[in-house]
């Protein structure tokens, strides 16, 4: 822990400031190998995010010599705060790679310790590990791997007289179901919509990138997004879902849309399972029967192993730690990516990176998690592709595509024009500049 009081004189500091660009000190705690070690770890929203404490407690039980303490960050501005801390040399020993698109910044900035040795010991059941590989070396390990599902409200399906999914849908089947729901719900006099599509770019672009063969985020060619945008616009047109303008101007919340039965279906990440459960318990969400199915597929060829998307959440080690801390931190990382931690996480409703039989059991033992066969299938069988594959230009490309998203969804620009423009911008302003 750093002292709260100025340690150096102002003059020394002024000199340091002038040469600020070169200063990137850190890890100034003395090394004491052998004895008990305390690691600091980044975290956010500790009150409402039990996963950090679950990890740390489970680990401490196995390794009484190593204590993990948290440094709390802001959930929405996590990377800004962490970047500032790391730049000033006051970052935590172990930090969470919350957004995959920023991983490369930390890695190329030499803020992450090479953990290839421990990564090699992890089994193939750890999914998402490959995302943290750069030039053959691994710089972080995943502990959770969220994926996108199709959530559906069984009660609303019944009210509309539509059969809920019993296997992985193709997009054609999905579109038919949405049309039936739209008609059925209206006929039943229900105010609910057939679907809710949140305003994020992920809701359209994530699946398009994951499912379209040959699609590449950094190619500068975004034609692959076209069918996905046309579907979204068509659903808006028919009134099957709230339109984008209304969702943005009314700041609609997806938790409320699905949780208070405003929508019969919703594409959303697996994290929402735990959120919905806790909201139903607290009364923030209504009580109704629901389940989750795999995301709809391009065709039947992927029915058995549905393709979806989602970024892993990883843990990395601050490159500035001393040897004793590095050893302890590596212990912690191995644990976090392993089966023990995965079971602990699964038992609080989180989708861990490691999926073995006991982990799956632990997940479906959580009270309220839909235990029907399709939900179980969706959890166990999926080919989850990264939404933000690591590359130095990922953040910039996603930025450009975010603007494309709002231009198309608000109806400001026709799909083809917007996608052409996106390609041109990425080629001229992003790919060119690297």
């Amino acid at each position: 822990m750093r002292s709260r009081y100025p340690r150096r004189t102002a003059i020394a500091a002024a000199v340091a400031a002038t040469a600020l660009v070169a200063t990137a000190c850190g890890g100034d705690e003395p090394a004491d190998s052998g004895g008990p070690v305390t690691l600091t770890m980044s975290a956010w929203s500790l009150n409402s995010t039990p996963e950090f404490k679950a990890l740390a407690d489970a680990f401490h039980e196995q390794n009484p010599d190593i204590t993990v303490e948290f440094k709390e960050y802001d959930a929405t501005n996590y990377d800004t705060q962490l970047t500032a801390d790391l730049a000033a040399g006051s970052g935590p020993d172990v930090y969470v790679l919350k957004n995959l698109k920023n991983f490369i910044t930390y890695q190329s900035g030499e803020q992450l310790l090479d953990v290839s040795d421990l990564a090699d010991q992890l089994g193939s059941e750890v999914s998402g590990l490959g995302n943290y590989k750069v030039d053959g070396a691994t710089f972080a390990v995943p502990y959770r791997q969220d994926s996108w599902y199709l959530y559906y409200n069984k009660d609303l399906f019944a009210a509309a007289g539509v059969t809920p999914p019993d296997e992985t849908w193709t997009w054609a089947e999905y579109e038919k179901a949405i049309a039936d729901l739209n008609a059925g719900l209206k006929a039943a006099g229900s105010p609910a919509k057939a679907a809710y599509q949140h305003v994020w770019q992920s809701t359209v672009q994530g699946l398009a990138l994951a499912q379209t063969r040959g699609a590449e985020l950094t190619s500068g060619d975004y034609g692959y997004l076209k069918p996905y945008y046309e579907r979204a616009l068509a659903q808006q047109e028919t009134g099957a879902q709230v339109d984008y303008g209304a969702a943005t101007t009314n700041s609609l919340q997806y938790q409320a849309q699905f949780g208070t039965q405003q929508a019969a279906t919703m594409l959303m990440g697996s994290w929402y399972v735990a959120t919905l459960l806790s909201q139903q318990e607290s009364g923030a969400a209504q009580a109704f029967e629901w389940g989750f199915a795999p995301a709809p597929q391009l065709d039947e060829s992927t029915r058995d192993k549905p393709v979806t998307f989602g970024d892993p959440t990883g843990l990395g080690i601050n490159a500035a730690v001393d040897e004793a801390e590095a050893a302890a931190a590596k212990e912690f990382l191995s644990f976090a990516a392993g089966e023990g931690a995965a079971a602990a996480l699964a038992s609080i409703g989180i989708t861990p990176a490691t999926l073995t039989e006991p982990v799956v059991e632990a997940y479906f033992e959580v009270e309220g998690v839909p235990a029907d066969e399709l939900s179980r299938f969706a959890f166990e069988n999926r080919d989850t592709k990264a939404e933000n594959p690591a590359s130095p230009v990922t953040a910039a490309v996603q930025n450009a595509l975010l603007e494309t998203h709002s231009a198309i969804m608000s109806g400001s620009t026709p799909v083809d024009d917007a996608l052409d423009e996106a390609g041109r911008r990425v080629r001229d302003e992003v790919l060119e500049s690297k």
């Binding site: 750093r2 002292s3 709260r4 009081y5 100025p6 340690r7 150096r8 102002a10 500091a13 340091a16 400031a17 600020l20 200063t23 956010w44 929203s45 009150n47 409402s48 995010t49 440094k71 709390e72 960050y73 802001d74 959930a75 929405t76 501005n77 800004t80 705060q81 970047t83 500032a84 801390d85 730049a87 000033a88 040399g89 006051s90 709230v242 209304a246 009314n250 700041s251 609609l252 919340q253 938790q255 409320a256 949780g259 208070t260 994290w271 929402y272 735990a274 959120t275 909201q279 923030a284 969400a285």
Partner: protein, 305 residues
């Protein structure tokens, strides 16, 4: 509406009626006389304008009485079905609102005091003293206002970290208290005070510091009041500064603390609005009390004629 006339009688009330109203109306003693139709219409316009200005605040209050999942809906509900007053008790229980409030009050007071003192002190130097390089230095001051903070905040953060100020409340004090804004504001105000006044004081044997304390400060009460209010509000509502510099939950300000109701996968929108309403009230009270200092400075009125 029913607020009493808090402003003490200005020296010459007739001086203030350079608006559209006919001079005779303003010169009549207000109170006993029957309101004219024009006056009623004027008030109606003012009340309507005030309603338009307060509408978002009304939405905040209304949302603070809802549950989180009913804050946003289509179509908009401007009034909650059943007002949930419980939120105003709940927020103290589920959060460290008291700690946040304490930190915010501390920062606002210290920053405002330092900004007022160092700002007006330096402004005197820029407005009334003479030394080589004065104008260049002043241009530098104004120039820094034109540089966006988000571009140099990382260099600044590294420097603050070097002197050990990050993650302390003093970092925010250091960040806010020496801004160029106050210097600029006060200098412009001092520029309206005639140099002859200072000259006369010098002849009378007053030192420069004496002139500052005994003449300039008392004359610049309206400017000091507006600087104080603006600094207070800026510090009170600052989000980005505390976000970058403060980590320890014991140091959070209200704005930063309220953001902790937004976690990764859900947000307590109703409580955020409850907290926002609570946070606005003290500032509004301070403003209500402080605005009465916008009255004619006694001495200025006689000088420039």
């Amino acid at each position: 509406m029913a607020a009493p006339r808090t402003a003490p009688d200005p020296v010459a009330p007739g001086a203030l009626d350079h608006g559209a109203e006919p001079p005779t109306a303003a010169r009549r003693p207000s109170g006993e006389r029957f309101p004219t139709p024009g006056r009623v219409a004027g008030y109606a316009v003012l009340v309507l304008a005030a309603a338009a200005l307060l509408l978002p605040f009304f939405w905040m209050v209304s949302s603070s009485l809802k549950t989180s999942n009913t804050v946003f809906s289509t179509p908009v509900t401007w009034l909650p079905d059943v007002p949930r007053w419980r939120n105003y008790l709940e927020i103290w229980r589920v959060s460290d609102m008291l700690v946040w409030l304490k930190n915010t009050v501390f920062l606002s007071l210290v920053v405002t005091f330092l900004q007022l003192f160092t700002g007006s002190f330096a402004a005197y130097g820029f407005a009334k003293a003479r030394f080589p390089g004065r104008n260049l230095l002043f241009v530098l001051y104004v120039g820094t206002i034109a540089v966006p903070w988000q571009a140099y905040m990382i260099p600044q953060f590294i420097f603050m970290s070097e002197i050990g100020l990050t993650d302390t409340l003093w970092s925010i004090v250091a960040l806010q208290a020496f801004g160029a804004f106050g210097v600029f504001l006060m200098r412009q105000y001092y520029a309206t005070i005639p140099d002859e006044l200072c000259e006369a004081a010098r002849v009378d044997g007053l030192s420069e510091y004496g002139i500052y304390f005994r003449i300039m400060l008392p004359l610049s009460v309206p400017a000091l009041a507006s600087l104080a209010l603006l600094t207070l509000v800026t510090t009170w509502n600052d989000y980005l500064g505390p976000l970058i510099y403060l980590r320890d939950p014991d140091l959070w300000t209200i704005q930063l603390g309220l953001k902790s109701f937004v976690s990764e996968y859900s947000a307590e929108h109703a409580l955020i609005m409850t907290g926002s309403v609570l946070s606005v009230l003290p500032v509004a009270v301070v403003f209500l009390l402080g605005q009465k200092y916008f009255v004619q400075g006694v001495a200025t009125s006689g000088m420039k004629g």
